[in-house]
């Protein structure tokens, strides 16, 4: 074997050379596979470059689900769930109602009126007889759908319809509903349009 204390080739062997072969196919395939799997990872974890999405949240939607619900947001969420369960069956989840059967709540002047007194009477006592909604004449027979609901729920659903589908009106508080309920007593008769119009707004 070569001399132990020296490198084998002493003196100069000249500059090194390199063989001419190319990189083997398998490593290129591995690279492509890793590019693809990594790409899947990038897709699921990057939040798609949103500046608000920080790990561990994976997307804007997920971040929204973890936003704490404050008073206003909670009321809207609550109002929506009451609406869908109680009112939406007739008036539609888009508030458009059914022509000839149930008036639309979207754009209805009863809903968007400044004061909520007249509006609050409707779910608490019901409507019967002639009433004009949105320039059209209706002959309705609505039961007191909100009579069995607690004040907060009625307030929440009224708030919800007053700020959905383009409606923009102030929220309704549970106290307002309580006052109206006290006013109308235990088993009120449904109101007609004329009677409602006679009330203060």
């Amino acid at each position: 074997m070569s001399d132990e204390n020296k490198n084998c080739c002493s003196p100069e062997t000249g500059e090194p050379t390199a063989t001419r072969s190319a990189a083997p196919m398998w490593i290129i395939v591995v690279t492509l596979v890793l590019l693809f799997t990594g790409g899947l990872f990038l897709d699921s974890h990057s939040g798609w470059f949103d500046k608000n999405v920080y790990a561990p949240y994976k997307s804007q939607e997920q971040l929204e689900a973890f936003q704490p619900k404050s008073g206003a947001a909670a009321a809207m969420a609550r109002g929506k769930s009451v609406y869908e369960g109680v009112c939406g069956i007739c008036h539609g989840s888009d508030g458009a109602g059914k022509p000839g059967q149930f008036p639309a709540l979207a754009g209805s002047e009863w809903v968007t009126a400044k004061g909520c007194n007249r509006l609050a009477h409707i779910p608490l006592a019901g409507v019967a007889g002639a009433i004009q909604v949105g320039g059209k004449d209706w002959n309705l027979n609505m039961a007191a759908m909100g009579a069995a609901l607690p004040d907060e729920d009625v307030a929440a659903v009224l708030t919800y319809i007053r700020s959905s589908w383009g409606n923009k009106a102030e929220a309704v508080t549970a106290d307002d509903v309580k006052k109206v309920r006290a006013e109308i007593g235990k088993s009120p008769q449904p109101y007609s349009g004329a009677q409602l119009k006679a009330m203060p707004e």
Binding site: N7, G14, P16, R20, A22, I27, G38
Partner: protein
């Protein structure tokens, strides 16, 4: 095309010589590099010793916390930062540049172009490192890890690098054969890399209008990755791919493979670096994790090229430069794998904020860059100076001190880091226990650090004595000439030529 491996290649001095114009040409090339390399290597070795010593002093705080309580300039935060920067900017980069210049000159088969330029650059560089270190210890660090040098020092380093880049490009331009050797590619990339990343990061972070907030940290992470991972890899692999085939007497395993390794390293490796739990939007750490996964391919490719080149070489190294460089490449593979694993989300939860990262960084700096550069210096210096190393036994001891010391230094840190990380993840374990478990390992690790320091002293001694011998030789020659010309009257005496390079 299958790589043609010449397993029966004869080792010996009758191995095919690649068009060299005889021993004389090599000697001229080597002689042209003498002063620049001495300037670069001498300073680098000095900074290596100083950096290791400062690092040792810094880590003593954990064993005896009140050691430097009254000494502001040796407090852990300052000493550790200064030590880290000394290892990278003081030792690794100038030594790598010196080796690069020599290799470029040899590959071009032409003497170093503009030899005065690297000498000036070396002096500027060392001045910059000195100013930077003094400023950090004095309390003026910029606060960005690995970029603590103040503006003046950073400007000096950048200017010095540009000068060396000019010399390197000029040397490459003076080559006679057209085809580039793989090391050329790596060095070219390395030159561009430092200029752009160091320049850009400093422009953003040292200007009066720093970017606000966490962007500073992002830029700092980008630079740290590009220097510690990519740049050291480019320089180290380029150097190894030159010396390994040369010493082994075989050709480099494959151009295509090396090219593939280079391209994947630069394209994917440059995106790694953002820690997984950084306070930045999720896309940044995710992109780094993705890039880390892809960098594995590069590491594997380089490892295969190295293995194919080294295996079957009938060279015994026994502590010589071949050992250094082989160990260095092995360290590259292991330390890079560990580095990349820090960016895998599953592991980063355990490894973050522990001693693991420090261990990996030191492995990259000392185990990979340090070993390869040391081996290269021991290979180059005798040729450049035209004489044997003054302490060959110390040079061999250097290998064992470095190898054993680095492993003893780094591996306890890695294990300790993992243990610390696992304890940190469990909120029921008090923080003091998590730290205490790391301290156990730190004691072993400090012993390793001491061994590495002793090894560095061997290197410094070799270079210093060699420089002194050369300078003394110069003085003697001049004195001799003056004496002779005085004695002989007006008879003209030609200066004796430099001795031919001896094995």
């Amino acid at each position: 095309m299958n790589p043609t491996e010449n397993k029966t290649m004869q080792c010996g001095c009758d191995a095919p010589v690649a068009g060299i114009g005889g021993e004389g040409a090599a000697a001229t090339i080597d002689a042209s590099c003498r002063v620049p390399l001495l300037a670069l290597f001498g300073g680098a070795a000095l900074w290596l010793v100083l950096g290791l010593a400062l690092g040792l002093a810094a880590v003593m705080t954990f064993h005896k916390p009140d050691m430097f309580a009254d000494c502001a300039f040796l407090t852990f935060g300052r000493a550790q930062a200064a030590a880290n920067d000394l290892l990278l900017y003081g030792f690794a980069i100038p030594a790598a540049l010196g080796v690069m210049l020599w290799i470029l000159a040899r590959l071009s088969q032409a003497p170093l172009a503009l030899p005065i330029v690297p000498v000036v650059a070396a002096n500027l560089w060392h001045l910059g490192v000195f100013i930077g270190t003094a400023t950090i210890l004095g309390g003026g660090s910029t606060g960005h890890p690995w970029l603590e040098y103040p503006r003046a020092a950073a400007v000096l380093l950048f200017a010095a690098f540009m000068l060396i880049a000019v010399c390197a490009v000029a040397t490459m331009g003076s080559r006679t054969n057209g085809e580039l050797y793989p090391s050329h590619w790596f060095f070219f990339a390395a030159i561009l890399w430092f200029v752009w990343s160091y320049g850009s990061a400093n422009i953003f972070l040292q200007s009066h209008q720093q970017p606000r907030g966490v962007v500073q940290a992002v830029i700092d992470w980008w630079l740290t990755n590009n220097l510690l991972f990519v740049w050291l890899a480019l320089a180290g692999i380029g150097i190894a791919f030159y010396f390994l085939p040369k010493i082994a007497g075989k050709p480099l395993a494959s151009r295509g493979y090396a090219l593939f390794g280079l391209l994947t390293l630069v394209f994917f490796g440059s995106w790694v670096g953002i820690p997984q739990s950084a306070p930045v939007p999720a896309w940044l750490p995710t992109v780094s994790a993705y890039a880390g996964l892809l960098s594995l391919v590069s590491i594997v490719a380089i490892a295969i090229v190295t293995k194919k080149t080294v295996c079957g070489a009938c060279v015994k190294c026994s502590g010589g430069p071949f050992c250094f460089i082989k160990f260095g490449m092995l360290s590259f593979v292991v330390s890079s794998l560990l580095y990349v694993s820090e960016f895998c989300p599953r592991y980063s939860r355990v490894l973050e904020f522990t001693w693991f990262n420090f261990g990996v960084t030191q492995w990259q700096l000392l185990g990979f860059a340090g070993m390869i550069l040391c081996g290269a210096i021991y290979e180059i210096l005798p040729r450049v100076m035209g004489k044997e190393l003054p302490f060959t036994k110390l040079a061999k001891l250097n290998f064992f001190l470095f190898a054993g010391g680095t492993l003893l230094f780094v591996i306890p840190l890695l294990i300790g880091g993992v243990e610390q990380g696992m304890k940190l993840r469990d909120a029921n374990i008090p923080f003091a226990d998590a730290s205490a478990v790391a301290m156990k390992f730190l004691r072993i690790s400090t012993t390793g650090q001491l061994l590495v320091l002793l090894g560095a002293l061997c290197l410094l001694l070799n270079i210093l004595v060699m420089t002194l011998q050369w300078k003394l030789g110069l003085v003697k020659t001049v004195v001799g000439v003056v004496k002779d010309s005085l004695a002989e009257g007006s008879a003209y005496q030609p200066l004796p030529c430099d001795k031919e390079a001896k094995p």
